[in-house]
Symmetry: C2
Subunit: 398 residues, 2 copies
């Protein structure tokens, strides 16, 4: 039987990239090779990594810089992200200048990860919205506010026509508005609206109890869950997605992601971290920095994340990209041009900062979305939507 491989590419600097690649392929799998007796080589051959492409981009001061790829036998790992990351970027992450760029999975391994349970089509189905980008809003803030104030914020967002509302990701201490109470109160508002609105409640608590906590939240009425995936570890997202009783969409927040992706020389590239791995582990919706705001990602990276989230791979459903931060109604045309139909427009300040309040903020966004989907300019939309006209006046972008 032919071995199947996980192909991993790294941006790396070393004296000799070919030798370095060879030493990684052996060192991160069977440990040593050429000095092994033949019988041992036969025994370990199925576990031996091999060197793929080596591309030298630059040579300077006796150092080569470039991209190498290493093939790890798929049988070296159990099908979970901790095993994967420990194997392909455990010790290696500490071995000089090296950045993990990409991982290609054989279908046999992909199939052992859950991927999104709902995906883009499933989330659209829940909302009954098929012909436009979705609109999500963020609470202006959550921490320390009594339930009544949060209800007011929630109601305004729903009134304006958002499809989804999410908790603030730093909402851990919720004694003034406990999860079960929020769910009851918000669901009452949703019901009264006559529409479906997904409310992503922040899933918090000890990691080994999060699956049970998620079930508790669902029992209390949660129709969507928000998770700070990286601080908790990818594996718990995987376990939530793989559990058939957790029958609501999962929204992944990128908290702490910058610690991995921001350096050009170290860490893990954002398209892999926030695109491929989030989807593999089961995120139905993936938040990440938009290329527009002050907390911005390079345009190429933001697009690559969306591509990984949505590309057809015959195994997993696609995830909704949610490029966030700095979004106001004037950017909706650009967002639509860059990301297309299957994107979630997500705004905080761009909704709450509307001179007419959050409801008008949401109305402005909905008008902007409807306008660009019809192929019209935002200026045209502003003629028929006063909230949009006011938003464009405030933020520009017509």
């Amino acid at each position: 039987m032919m071995s199947e491989y996980i192909t991993v590419s790294y941006l790396i600097e070393a004296k000799n990239l070919h030798k370095k690649a060879e030493s990684i392929a052996v060192g991160m799998t069977v440990g040593s090779w050429t000095d092994l007796p033949l019988a041992r080589q036969e025994l370990l051959a199925p576990y031996l990594g091999t060197t793929g492409n080596v591309t030298i981009m630059e040579e300077r001061n006796g150092l080569q810089k470039g991209i190498i790829s290493i093939r790890y036998p798929v049988g070296n790992i159990t099908p979970d992200i901790p095993a994967l990351l420990t194997t392909v970027f455990g010790k290696l992450s500490m071995d000089g200048k090296i950045k993990l760029l990409d991982i290609d999975f054989p279908p046999s391994l992909l199939k052992q990860f859950p991927g999104p349970k709902f995906g883009i089509a499933g989330v659209r189905e829940l909302l009954g919205v098929h012909d436009r980008p979705l609109l999500m809003s963020i609470f202006k803030s959550c921490l320390g506010l009594p339930l009544g104030e949060l209800e007011t914020q929630f109601a305004a967002q729903v009134e304006g026509g958002v499809d989804l509302v999410k908790d603030d990701e730093i909402f851990f201490v919720d004694d003034k508005a406990p999860l079960a109470n929020r769910l009851t109160a918000y669901n009452r508002i949703i019901e009264a609206s006559g529409r479906t609105v997904l409310y992503a409640v922040n899933l918090t608590g000890p990691v080994h109890q999060l699956v049970d906590k998620a079930k508790y939240a669902i029992e209390k009425g949660a129709n969507c869950l928000l998770l700070n995936v990286l601080p908790y570890g990818f594996d718990i997202l995987h376990r939530l997605a793989a559990d058939p009783d957790i029958n609501v969409p999962l929204m992944a927040h990128p908290a702490m992601a910058g610690a991995f992706y921001a350096s050009d020389e170290y860490g893990i590239a954002s398209p892999l971290l926030l695109g491929k791995l989030m989807r593999l582990a089961g995120a139905d919706m993936i938040l990440y920095p938009s290329p527009y705001g002050s907390v911005a990602l390079k345009q190429s990276e933001a697009l690559a994340i969306a591509e990984h989230a949505r590309i057809s791979n015959d195994v997993h459903k696609s995830s909704f990209p949610v490029p966030s931060a700095g979004i106001h109604p004037g950017l909706v045309g650009k967002l639509y041009d860059d990301f297309g139909m299957d994107v979630i427009v997500n705004a905080g300040g761009g909704i709450h900062g509307h001179p007419g309040g959050a409801a008008d903020g949401a109305r402005a966004f909905r008008a902007a979305i409807n306008t660009v989907v019809q192929g019209k300019t935002l200026a045209e939309g502003a003629k028929v939507s006063k909230p949009l006209a006011i938003a464009l006046e405030k933020w520009g972008g017509a």
Copy 2:
């Protein structure tokens, strides 16, 4: 009542560090402040972050670079590392050039984290070794080897006098030598030796089941557990350490740590990541790159990790620092000078690569340790230990 604060320092670049600090203190806690009505300010005051020291180190091209500290009210988070990291380095990690340097915890918060269950004194007690650095060895490799070969490796290491042996951290697929079988086989070897040897078995599997898996391993005879803390997330270490039924020492592997600490401009500083947080979460022993080998950490960082692991804080037991990689017997004097008595000398190649085999490799280390503890030079030790003499000839360092 006076609020208590978590004080967090960042290395950061921005146009104006004072303004940036102010915007973080507000933005990462209550969201906005100056524009709030008085009643709302009164309500939110207990949750408001404040600015601490701002030290401008450099001004260039209209940008200031320096260290800022932000005080977050301790009541803003639940006492767990995901809440902590999401709050102090969630969105912020993605906000331009910023590195999380350090976190100072008020004792009230420290007390809510488990810290090491055994600590240095407890591990020494288990081993009955109080007057010298401990010696640990790593399997030459584990992946793909049948149990018989692993037993042979294990026996040689024990024969030579190591105090601890650990699994390879990439040992996930163990179908040829399942955990329970390894424990039975190795414990037989330990028993036959008449000494106590701690064997750190790699704890793997779905993260929400790791507490149960740890209990299973202990039931099967495990006397120590190894965990790839960062790929699984800090919280599961916390939960293992906090569980009274997990009554064996926990060893933290730094797999993937370089993705966080290696950049000077982004990520999380290694003394915080591998020293403070690992101890807080409950690691009895902390592996990390030594300052000596090819996979090396700066000397100052390696020492700072050890300091955080061992400094008296009146709340938590201290953790054993295990500066690893590139260690051979000739380095033991330097290791002892740099790290003192309460350190674990950890070697792989430096034991298995001994010309007389792994048992002699361990003997050479034990001789080196005994020699330096007596204030003698390794050359003196080599006069009474042939394995040490051979090791010094091979690796140098006399």
